[in-house]
């Protein structure tokens, strides 16, 4: 019987394959295609896809855009931003979030614009009442990413930076308040 040190002899390509090994190849092959199919299909029929428009931007340009948005927005009595329309701008910079805290309405769809002014950051968000409902998106300083989101449940949503961005990274926290309409 051949070992893995031996040079296989004769016509090894035509040696038969064990019946169960053949069955396993079939199972593994079908599963591989199935999970590809599901992932690909979900981009069409699913509700959770990290997909949105992207634009190349200069970090300082993005900063100006966010500033203009903040100037236009209202504030509630606690000083939290109330977006003027459906667009919500968030600018990550060492070590804080421009545009947060913001107050949103549950059930309404917003275009969340993500970008950074200096280095890469991570947008990691979860509601305080259910920590396992969390998602994480990468933020790059040269790209503006517009991801639509609508929050079903009212509550306080916490944003943590989860990409290393320098000394002080672990203090980078922000808040979204999702309120009953």
């Amino acid at each position: 019987m051949p070992g893995p040190f031996d040079k296989p002899e004769g016509n090894w390509w035509d040696e038969p394959v064990n019946r169960r090994e053949g069955m396993w190849l079939g199972i593994a092959g079908v599963w591989s295609l199935a999970i590809f199919g599901w992932m690909s299909g979900f981009t069409r029929f699913g509700d959770q896809n990290p997909v949105g428009e992207t634009y190349e931007v200069d970090p300082s340009e993005y900063r100006e855009t966010v500033q203009a948005y903040i100037d236009e927005a209202d504030e509630n009595e606690e000083g939290h931003i109330i977006p003027p329309g459906d667009s919500v701008y968030i600018g990550a910079f060492r070590f804080n979030w421009d545009g947060l805290p913001v107050v949103l309405e549950a059930g309404q769809e917003y275009d969340i614009h993500l970008g950074a002014y200096d280095v890469q950051h991570g947008f990691s968000i979860r509601p305080e009442h259910s920590l396992s409902q969390q998602i994480n998106l990468q933020i790059l300083p040269d790209t503006e990413w517009v991801i639509p989101m609508s929050f079903d449940d009212p509550g306080t949503y916490h944003v943590i930076c989860n990409e290393f961005c320098g000394q002080g990274h672990n203090s980078m926290h922000g808040t979204l308040y999702v309120e009953e309409p």
């Binding site: 019987m1 051949p2 070992g3 893995p4 040190f5 031996d6 040079k7 296989p8 040696e15 038969p16 394959v17 064990n18 169960r20 090994e21 593994a28 599963w31 591989s32 295609l33 599901w38 992932m39 979900f42 981009t43 509700d47 959770q48 896809n49 990290p50 997909v51 949105g52 428009e53 993500l114 991570g122 990691s124 305080e128 920590l131 396992s132 969390q134 998602i135 994480n136 998106l137 990468q138 790059l140 040269d142 790209t143 503006e144 990413w145 991801i147 639509p148 989101m149 609508s150 449940d153 916490h158 943590i160 930076c161 989860n162 990409e163 290393f164 961005c165 672990n170 203090s171 926290h173």
Partner: protein, 576 residues
């Protein structure tokens, strides 16, 4: 000191410098053996350094202990990552190339000067990387593993990383020359499976290294001011050709070691040359696409690109891994059944040499790599599931299951094997040596699962020194995760102790172990020799034990897949 060292590099060779290995029966030349030892020992030194930083990193993440503050945390984490993931594993992999090439083929190692030059260059690069990580200060920050621009990373770091990669390429040349000679002057024979695996590993390594040199050069020319701006998305794409490419090298080298060790200490055979080799070929074509799964939550890339690449082209490479997942245990099952060792469904496995640490390390590596590392890798590599894993502690759990449990355990087994068969030393304590794989696999396995749950169920992020007990300046912290974090902490301590035990046994045996006389196989040889003679042809041997295990694996995979998707669809609606 010099006497002990020179003794370590000596054996009973004949006039031509060859000897016959009493365990594997291979004809081994002094040149090949000594270079395997050189690279292997260097790898173990890197493991010591990286391991020290495992202590400070893990004991900081366990915030109850909070060993070091944020100020030094990133520096320590960078040291941990580079010394373990890169230096421990890559030095081992060069040694594996020299085993898989010249040793298995019974040749001398050609171009030994080139091999030594490769070693010197790699060591120079590694020292440079350690130096620049350790001394980063002022406006400059430690790189972590990834050196994500435009962070201000020390210029010398990029330069040293390039030096290290060039060194690894130089060190691979004597291996490639061996294969070339074999094909040129040897007969027309097919390469043995282990050599074939090592060869595919080396091709994938070269692709990864070229990508790495491109990435770090891009960083370097930007740092020294030749180009003014650097595109962070483009850097990420380039970086992951090496960042993940090096993981593919680890994977292929590890699988090659699995075939090697299950054979030499368990008596495994090759159940189908065609199937196993085809799986390696699938890797060759598709596995490097997998680098894309680091970029699933990135803005700058299109959906079609993401779907195609993250799935290694319709899961071509995941399929290949599932092929090996059958072929390797089946080799063991067939080889042992042919010898009449153990009947029933799993008798061949339960009767195996479980006290031999080389064997147990290999089997735990296979099982934990597959069940934990492999499944989580496919899960987090799915475009949508990735947003629940990306940059969380669960990611750290995934890659500790692959590299810190899977690859590291296989390589620990290999180090033990090399100590007995090449350094010809017996273990200082057979009992402690037997204990190492159980202890390390158990502790690190649980620590890894804890990391995965901390990330998925609590959203604990990676790469931060405090978030569970305190987020500085915020009135929020992930305090609900504290109990699980303590569980992680305790098992991390145990895993580190198991690592220390491994090092004590390995280094203690090298220095104080009894010398094994010529012909003494230290009890390593499998019962009934390496390969059984005669009997049924291998494809006709019963493989139902392996089939049953693979079905259990598939059931686990399906359940975890469904659970992860279930968690995902609980979320608010995201994306266009």
């Amino acid at each position: 000191m010099v006497a002990t060292l020179s003794q370590l590099f000596d054996n009973d060779y004949d006039e031509e410098g060859f000897r016959t290995c009493s365990v594997t029966g291979l004809e081994i030349h002094r040149t090949a053996e000594n270079h395997v030892k050189l690279f292997g020992l260097t790898a173990v030194v890197a493991m010591v350094v990286g391991g020290i930083f495992a202590i400070t990193v893990a004991m900081t993440r366990w915030e109850l202990i909070g060993l070091i503050g944020e100020a030094n945390y990133y520096r320590h984490l960078s040291m941990h990552a580079w010394n373990l993931l890169i230096f421990w594993l890559v030095f081992m992999e060069i040694a594996i190339l020299y085993v898989g090439g010249p040793m298995v083929l019974g040749r001398r190692l050609p171009l030994t000067k080139v091999a030594k030059a490769g070693w010197v260059t790699m060591v120079a690069g590694a020292l440079g990387i350690n130096y620049f990580i350790w001394t980063a200060s002022g406006a400059e920050v430690a790189p972590l593993l990834t050196a994500y621009v435009p962070l201000n990373i020390p210029t010398g770091f990029f330069a040293s990383a390039i030096v290290f990669l060039v060194g690894a390429t130089i060190a691979a040349v004597p291996f490639l020359a061996t294969i070339w000679k074999e094909k040129r002057w040897g007969t027309d024979d097919t390469l043995p499976l282990v050599t074939f695996g090592a060869f595919i590993t080396s091709i994938i390594a070269v692709q990864a290294i070229l990508g790495g040199i491109a990435a770090f050069s891009y960083g370097l020319v930007w740092k020294v001011g030749i180009i003014e701006t650097i595109n962070s998305g483009a850097y990420r794409t380039l970086f992951w050709t090496i960042g993940h490419g090096s993981q593919q090298i680890n994977l292929l080298a590890m699988i090659t070691v699995w075939y090697f060790l299950t054979h030499v200490v368990g008596g495994a055979v090759v159940v189908s040359e065609k199937v196993s080799r085809s799986a390696f070929i699938l890797y060759l074509f598709f596995i490097n696409l997998g680098a894309a799964h680091h970029l699933m939550a990135d803005p700058a890339l299109g959906v079609g690109w993401k779907l195609f690449n993250t799935s290694y082209a319709f899961y071509g490479a995941a399929f290949a891994s599932m092929i090996h997942a059958f072929a390797i245990p089946a080799g063991l099952e067939a080889g042992r059944r042919q010898r009449g060792l153990g009947g029933g469904l799993f008798g061949w496995l339960t009767s195996a040499p479980w006290r031999n640490p080389v064997f147990s390390a290999t089997i735990f590596s296979i099982i934990l790599f597959g069940f934990v590392g492999g499944i989580t890798g496919v899960l987090m590599g799915q475009l949508q599931l990735n947003i629940t894993w990306h940059n969380t502690f669960a990611t750290v759990g995934h890659f500790h299951a692959t590299v810190a449990v899977g690859t590291t355990l296989a390589f620990m087994g290999l180090v033990f094997f090399v100590i007995q068969t090449m350094f010809r030393r017996d273990f200082v304590s057979g009992t402690l040596a037997s204990l190492v794989p159980y202890f390390y696999a158990g502790a690190m396995g649980i620590a890894t699962l804890a990391m995965i749950y901390l990330g998925i169920l609590y959203g604990v992020p990676r790469r931060t020194s405090s978030v569970v007990r305190n987020i500085p300046g915020a009135d929020f912290s992930i305090s609900a995760a504290a109990p699980l974090m303590s569980l992680f902490g305790v098992f991390a301590v145990l895993a580190i102790l198991a690592g220390v035990l491994f090092l004590l046994v390995a280094l203690g045996s090298l220095l104080f172990g009894a010398r094994l006389e010529r012909g003494d196989d230290a009890g390593l040889r499998p019962d009934g020799g390496l390969t059984p003679d005669g009997g049924k042809p291998v494809h006709a041997v019963d493989m139902r034990g392996t089939f049953a295990m693979c079905l259990i694996f598939m059931a686990t995979f399906v359940v975890l897949y469904v659970l992860n998707w279930f968690l995902l669809v609980q979320l608010w609606s995201i994306g266009a």
